[in-house]
């Protein structure tokens, strides 16, 4: 009898730290644990006793990569609680700032974290030595997203300009003009990015996933819509808790989120694309088709192309919003807090991010629930590994380890959202 263990102490090129444990006996996988050690419970506890208007800035600190997603889910939950609907140009500005976050988050993953896997480099630094122009394009493209977030958010990191009801300050048309110039370049660079990523080699790998994303009748989803799936789910965000449940698993402090009675599900760019292809801009649709994608993509390794298509869409959508922009009279709507429960779910770069808050009559938070996208994908990542590893079981340990890491990186797991420090270990015994 021959048994082996793969050990990887750190999963490189995922946000945060991850731990993966794989046990193989007689060329059969007998155990896989994708571990996340710590749920975002500190923040949920920290929010209790704070006022409703502090939630956007506190939750933005959960993740340095997607603070806008946390701000957006929190403000929508609060506005839901208090019966306020933000519309017109303020609503458009929220889509605009989210475009910026998608661009910077996706470009970081596509160029710096995921592409080295496909091109055979240990990291982007080595890749830059052979492909400096490609890496430079990635850096500049990400900058276009950073500039958008910095302008609307007040600063690039941990933006401070978003508030319940709108913004503290809104830009003029003149202030948006220079960003639009950069976005025109970025749109061309994004188009090149789609073409480039489509030339990479992808393992043949698909599963019968249940994709879950927001769907809005008129637009590709950022902040609003119903939660839908390719297997019949179609619910209001208010009903999230009736359909999804967080289960504690022994090997992970992060809770595994599952659909009640149905198990794992898949959130993020692939889910959004598959459920909303018809809502992409004509340019994004046409470009996707031109590189051989259909309106459904089930191979998670190809998520690098889908992320690139979403970057192209975000540039296109940002330019559309800026072109139609007129400065609103007031930067925010008036908020009158009262005792209520509010629900918010928005499309973070990595997938749906759910917030629920219970507020008292003074506007003080009584309790909070936050479900990040990586917690929701965790079970699907484990399931992928159960399918993927047997197909590559004959590879030597070091190569199999790299392949496993790549399979995990398909999900761009933001472990700093799901937890903070996640050690990754792959064992072969």
């Amino acid at each position: 009898m021959k048994s082996r263990t793969i050990k990887v102490d750190y999963l490189a090129r995922v946000e945060g730290e991850g731990a993966l444990y794989v046990k193989i006996k007689d060329n059969t996988v007998v155990d896989i644990k994708f571990k996340i050690f710590e749920p975002p419970r500190f923040f949920e506890a920290f929010l209790r006793g704070r006022t409703y208007n502090e939630a956007p800035d506190i939750t933005a600190r959960i993740c340095g990569i997607c603070p806008i997603a946390y701000q957006m889910s929190s403000v929508h939950a609060m506005e839901d609680a208090f019966g306020v609907a933000v519309d017109g140009q303020l609503r458009a500005l929220r889509r605009l700032i989210y475009c910026g976050e998608w661009i910077e988050s996706h470009v970081l993953h596509v160029y710096m974290l995921h592409a080295p896997d496909f091109l055979g480099y240990p990291d982007a630094i080595q890749m830059a030595k052979d492909h400096p122009d490609i890496v430079q394009r990635g850096l500049q493209l990400k900058k276009a997203g950073n500039d958008l977030v910095a302008l609307l958010g007040g600063r690039e990191i941990h933006p401070i300009n978003v508030r319940v009801g709108g913004f503290y300050k809104v830009p003029t048309r003149q202030e948006l003009a220079p960003v639009a110039e950069k976005l025109k370049w970025a749109r061309d660079a994004a188009l090149e990015t789609v073409r480039w990523t489509a030339t990479l080699h992808f393992p043949d790998f698909e599963q019968d996933y249940e994709f879950v994303a927001l769907r809005h009748p008129e637009e590709y989803p950022f902040n609003e819509g119903r939660l839908v799936s390719n297997k019949g789910l179609d619910i209001s965000v208010h009903d999230y808790d009736n359909h999804f449940i967080e289960e504690h698993v022994q090997h992970s402090n992060a809770l595994h989120s599952v659909q009640k009675g149905r198990g794992s599900y898949f959130v993020g760019p692939l889910a959004r694309y598959n459920l909303n292809f018809d809502k992409l801009s004509p340019l994004a649709q046409e470009t996707a088709r031109s590189v051989g994608l259909s309106n459904v993509c089930r191979n998670p390794f190809q998520s690098i192309i889908i992320r690139s298509v979403e970057v192209l869409y975000a540039c296109d959508e940002a330019l559309r919003i800026i072109e139609q922009y007129e400065k609103p009279d007031k930067p925010a709507l008036e908020i009158k807090p009262h005792a209520a429960v509010g629900y918010g779910c928005t499309e973070a770069p990595r997938g749906i991010l759910y917030h629920r808050y219970r507020i008292d009559d003074e506007g003080v938070i009584l309790d909070a629930q936050i479900v990040p996208p990586t917690s929701q994908n965790q079970k699907t990542i484990e399931n992928d590994l159960w399918q993927f590893i047997p197909q590559h079981i004959k590879l030597p340990n070091d190569q199999l380890t790299l392949q496993c890491e790549q399979a995990i990186r398909n999900y761009d797991p933001c472990i700093s959202c799901a937890t903070h420090f996640l050690k990754l270990t792959i064992d072969r015994v």
């Binding site: 750190y10 490189a12 090129r13 995922v14 946000e15 945060g16 730290e17 710590e38 500190f42 923040f43 920290f46 600190r61 340095g64 990569i65 910077e104 970081l108 710096m112 974290l113 990291d123 982007a124 630094i125 830059a128 030595k129 400096p132 890496v135 430079q136 850096l139 990400k142 900058k143 950073n146 690039e156 990191i157 941990h158 472990i415 700093s416 903070h420 420090f421």
Partner: protein, 179 residues
């Protein structure tokens, strides 16, 4: 101590810049000792002269590269976890030393400080002078406030950086005290 080797000659153009020195504090204030870089940056900002610009960052590498690209003298301050005694002050002159990538992995970013520095080096985009202070943390769990040893080290780094700032004036002669 007069220094003429690691700190390169400051160009006339950079001396004319309003902000000659860029100080970047990195961290997350809700992760215990991880917030030490931010704390020092905030303290420096309280009394910083005109030729000094102080910013706070989360540690995401690409944003770091962007923020330092127009500066000739950059001082970066962050918490580290290398196994040394909590409160140990590590100092790197980036032009003469390579930073181990695992040194800053507690910044939680896959593409963090060490990666940004090495990518900038590969692309020849390093600032003329880049000094990194890493303060060995003890507790990176969720929570606010610094451990006593880290608090003490923060005061020491604050003193060193303030001393440096006071001795680098926006002038044309090029003798600078070591950071």
């Amino acid at each position: 101590m007069v220094r003429c080797t690691a700190i390169k000659m400051i160009t006339e153009q950079s001396v004319q810049n309003k902000h000659l020195i860029l100080i970047i504090g990195i961290g997350n204030p809700y992760r215990g000792d991880d917030g030490v870089g931010l704390r020092i940056a905030q303290d420096i900002k309280k009394k910083s002269p005109d030729h000094v610009n102080v910013i706070e960052q989360s540690g995401e590498g690409i944003s770091l590269m962007d923020s330092w690209k127009d500066s000739d003298i950059v001082i970066l301050i962050d918490a580290v976890h290398s196994g040394a005694q909590p409160g140990t002050i590590h100092r790197f002159d980036v032009h003469t030393q390579t930073i181990p990538t695992k040194f800053f992995h507690y910044s939680t970013h896959a593409f963090g400080i060490a990666e940004a520095i090495e990518l900038a080096r590969a692309l020849k985009q390093l600032p003329q002078n880049l000094i990194v202070y890493g303060i060995e943390g003890k507790c990176f769990e969720a929570g606010t406030g610094l451990s006593p040893a880290v608090e003490k080290a923060a005061q020491e780094v604050l003193t060193r950086v303030r001393h440096y700032i006071q001795n680098v004036l926006p002038r044309k002669d090029t003798e600078y005290h070591e950071i």
